[in-house]
Assembly symmetry: C2
Homo-oligomer: 220 residues x 2
């Protein structure tokens, strides 16, 4: 497996931190990005302690510029502005969108309408020169950080229009689950993958658990 230089934008949040941990454990060179370089450095140190490997931290833009692959793991609120501000740094990169546009009210979680179809397609529209892939939407942040074992009962669903980029991300998924990500189709399928997280959040509330998705019937 290739060793990549990977920036995790929003890497101080629970989901970003948890994903970063497994990418580091998988042997990749990871830089945590945050609006504050200082907070990024603190999380990088926390992950270094957890994994016993070197991890660095930087402001989001510096992190993106130094990386081959950029994971975007940020809240939907403010997404458009953030991607716009990073557009130059993301140009030409493999960008993995892990963003879930969700709303919450008394009835629970639900998928928000997105003009471009999905957060991933919004990113592609703002940065036409990026190779955008959607993935890692459905893994529980708690499991990502706390589990000692690979999350090998779960599947990472991967969508994208650039087949080579999609293969790379399927391979990265193996750092978390121990098996390649599942090809879910074109980038537009992010419109299905992202709000599916609302279903899992509702299940978690109803069953008091941390649920995940598995695809059955694939010969592995």
């Amino acid at each position: 497996m290739s060793r990549y230089k990977i920036a995790v934008i929003g890497g101080t949040g629970p989901q970003g931190r948890g994903l970063a941990r497994w990418l580091v454990a998988g042997g990749h060179d990871v830089v945590i990005g945050s609006r504050s370089a200082e907070r990024a450095g603190a999380t990088a140190e926390e992950i270094a302690t957890r994994t016993g490997a070197d991890v660095s931290g930087a402001d989001n833009e510096s992190a993106a510029r130094t990386a081959d692959i950029v994971l975007v793991v940020v809240p939907w609120n403010g997404h458009h502005e953030l991607i716009t501000s990073l557009a130059d740094a993301l140009d030409g990169k493999l960008v993995v969108s892990c963003v879930n546009p969700l709303g919450f009210d008394a009835q629970g979680a639900f998928g928000l309408g997105v003009e471009e179809g999905s957060a991933a397609e919004q990113t592609q529209k703002i940065v036409p020169g990026a190779r955008v892939v959607g993935a890692f939407h459905h893994l529980s942040a708690v499991s990502l950080w706390e589990s000692e074992a690979l999350l090998d009962h779960e599947d990472v669903l991967v969508c994208g229009d650039d087949l080579e980029a999609k293969e790379v991300v399927k391979e990265l998924a193996g750092c978390v689950t121990g098996r390649p990500g599942v090809d879910a189709g074109a980038l537009r399928l992010a419109a299905q993958l992202e709000p599916l997280t609302a279903v899992l959040i509702n299940i978690n509330r109803r069953y008091k658990t941390r649920s995940g998705i598995a695809i059955v019937g694939i010969d592995r």
Copy 2:
């Protein structure tokens, strides 16, 4: 478990026929509905032969009128007109919407935009007096008909606003999978469940398989 009188609207299609088979096997009194009572009767006979139990057939409206529970298993194309034509017969019933509004092109399957959010919500809007539940979107028609064993690696995701109706449908799901359906939240979550089928169809094409969904992390 209660024994219900269940109509399967669109029961001559592969999905409807496959679901009907398991509901019959689960001890329910099933009537196959079709635009043509004659074709409904032929499919009913086919299912009776497959299961060794009595099954009847009727035109869609007659089938709906005689039943306590009505499964709607029809193509998205023509859905609005069909539900409108059956509105009087569906009033006051537990209606299970199993409809997937999907499009297909050279890039594969994708979810169609639906003004009401989903086929299930469209049905609820056309028939305000029905208790609409969304379920059974993700089971392969081929597996439903051909499998000798319960589809016990798969989950039926169930959404709805009427909690009692949702419990009944979770129980019906057990006829197919051997375990209760999973509560995925309010009826509006049908907007996530329905187009998820596009992901499975893309996976089937890519991996040459019949894929399904399982929820991991639920204590059963």
